[in-house]
Symmetry: C2
Subunit: 420 residues, 2 copies
């Protein structure tokens, strides 16, 4: 039995079946530094996928902040502590639109679970809308918005999933998307559930990050406002400067959400997430629900999150995302392959969509092989979008032009080596 087989057998026995892993032959990662990961055999991989280690794997400033605070104090928010207030002040300064109050939790799922209840608290209604190709988290409530696997017993009657934007297959404008939302709102109101909230990722990352013009959501925002619902921007993927042009995805698309949720990259891998809301939304929630999160906003989580924010600024990582993202995108656009249907992205979230040549049918099996081939060549990335036909490239933020060259050169070699 190889080491990998042994680990997989122990996982099956101890963790149960269907615990997801990446790759046909899963990788055992034992060490990380910056944009690099090493497996147990000492082999180095360029990480072009992980957004959680936002400022780079094991960034010394974040590690130091965690170690120092963990040795000093780690309690909860029922005692007063400067840490959460310092962090909240720094964080809300990154937002406009009166997004000035913060609730700290531990996971993006918890954040979205709270955000959806903010919609309930503000409207007294329960209807929730999301797209039909998304994922916002794994609590019982939030998983109602996921299409990866329908909830047991089917969707709740107060959920409507509208067609996700897809610039390749149905390049409808914002008016078409708004019309879908308006129809869903009308259905929810007619059903008696009423309309509480529309949740979306401003990058539509899980939908395959289609290229959308600024203003794409303007009409949708008007529809939501007119119906009295709240707009939740799930910034777990585009947030913290990943898009290069702005700190948040909603700023890039140019709209004002009522609630923003953040998670994965927030504390560079330490379990922390948050909900940022307009004061009246936070008040409505705090008035309607008794909410306390034991670990949320503890001093260590706040120290890790603050250090992450510091590093983003000190190392100019938003500018780097713009510069290197643009460079990588230009190099990818120069690739020549009959299956390449689209190259797109923003900042350090970019990729290549492959289709069966001359059609818009996702080249699902081809992309699967390509992802495995890239892993064999020492590059970690993955697939996303309709039919899994799009390479998803989303590296840690200190990704350099040199890293981008290695990525694109290796991709060119892999494409040349695969049967078309």
């Amino acid at each position: 039995m190889t080491r990998t087989e042994d680990l997989l057998a122990r996982r099956r026995r101890l963790l149960g079946p269907n615990v997801p892993t990446f790759y046909d032959e899963p990788v055992e990662i034992v060490r990380g530094q910056g944009v690099w990961l090493w497996d147990a055999a000492g082999r180095r991989y360029l990480d072009c996928y992980n957004n959680v280690p936002h400022v780079g794997h094991c960034h010394p400033k974040v590690v130091e902040a965690i170690a120092t605070q963990a040795a000093t104090l780690n309690t909860h928010t029922r005692y007063l502590h400067e840490g959460i207030l310092t962090y909240a002040e720094r964080l809300v300064a990154k937002f406009g639109h009166d997004l000035s109050t913060v609730m700290m939790v531990c996971t993006g799922s918890e954040a979205n679970d709270v955000a959806l209840r903010m919609g309930q608290a503000m409207t007294g209604k329960t209807g929730m809308i999301a797209t039909d190709a998304t994922y916002h988290g794994n609590t019982a409530l939030v998983s109602q918005l996921s299409t990866r696997r329908p909830p047991i017993g089917g969707y709740a009657p107060n959920v409507r999933l509208v067609p996700a934007p897809d610039t390749l297959r149905h390049p409808d404008g914002g008016a078409a998307f708004a019309a879908h939302v308006a129809r869903a709102i009308a259905e929810l109101e007619a059903s008696g559930h009423g309309f509480a909230s529309l949740t979306l990722c401003p990058l539509f990352a899980n939908e395959g990050f289609p290229t959308l013009p600024p203003g794409f959501l303007d009409e949708t925002v008007r529809v939501v406002r007119k119906a009295g619902g709240i707009l939740i921007a799930d910034e777990v993927q585009p947030g913290f400067g990943r898009l290069g042009s702005h700190w948040w995805g909603h700023q890039a698309l140019g709209f004002a959400p009522d609630v923003v949720t953040i998670g994965k990259p927030m504390a560079n891998g330490h379990p922390a997430a948050a909900v940022i809301a307009r004061p009246e939304v936070m008040e409505a929630f705090r008035g309607a629900f008794g909410y306390f999160n034991t670990f949320g906003g503890n001093p260590v989580s706040c120290a890790a999150a603050l250090a992450t924010l510091d590093v983003i600024e000190a190392e100019g990582l938003v500018d780097n995302a713009r510069d290197v993202g643009g460079y990588a995108l230009a190099r990818l656009r120069a690739l020549n392959h009959p299956r390449i249907a689209d190259v797109r992205g923003a900042g350090l979230f970019f990729g290549v969509e492959f289709t069966d040549a001359g059609t818009t049918t996702p080249a699902s099996a081809f992309v699967l092989r390509l992802v495995e081939e890239m892993r064999r060549r020492g590059i970690l990335l993955n697939k996303i979008g309709p039919g899994g036909g799009t390479l998803k490239i989303r590296p840690p933020m200190p990704f350099s032009r040199e890293n981008a060259d290695l990525l694109v050169d290796t991709l060119a070699e892999a494409l040349a080596g695969l049967p078309e």
Copy 2:
């Protein structure tokens, strides 16, 4: 404006209203070590309340494990890693009853949210039962089991809350509790929701930790089994040896749950929690739901949890809980005060119930004053139970006989100083 007033004003502005704090004048805690906490003015408090820092505040072995692993690697379970397997092996060895598979998440709320869906997956039904004086977490689903503040829009129709055991006011035996559960099951089945799960804390900690004999739940377990539902033991409070006699509350009470959830003390304050289940229950869940938790089971969380387990064993903290808990209970029983109606507990979870003299009416206002008076005297504890009439004492596990003496001596002085 005092420093406390300033912090409270910043909290109100940045975090919104109704963010809970302890005490009339909240304490600003800046440092912790073992069973001690220090406020910003340098004043030392004996921590007789916090169970999250299970092996003591800022235990050097746990801090070291976190710092070392955070500097080495922190990713997720889609790559293979030894850490989660080593921890899972060590953890399941503490359980019997075929509780041999583990799912790691970040908070007790997430653990219970999964556990409730395990009930759904096993039974295909949705009915949930808990007691009418409990709290199991804060997701939308789990908060349906909470009575501290009813969910907005009221309870879902598939929830039944049965009367909590209360040995002072209605010292019914296990048969009476089982009859309540049987009635709730019959109602759920008649309503069409069907019966999926009964969730309870084996210590009934939030219910005021009534004194219950081993075997109290035997009849309830038979009722649940006969109806085909699953039994979820929420061990977030009694677990990890706090009761002194056993590692888990269900072992102390002598019953075999299908699912156990753990949280707060698991990694000594680092956000980690888990669900432990019989393999067929884990399989049913893993087959019915696509579940992945980004932070759950990451290498740092596993290192922190493993170090916590190591310290519990290396320092003999379960034996210490039995010894010091018994000593403290005996000393509390020697207190003489007309309002003391009951002194009870197990291991390092114990307390004193106060009533209006000669009645069973909770002395709520008196206990509130007492808690504040103890804080003024440098002892942190709190209240719980029916009407908040019970002092809740639940210190970190390295609590010594000397600490217990300080606690009880101070309590005697505080009682003598308060108007009866």
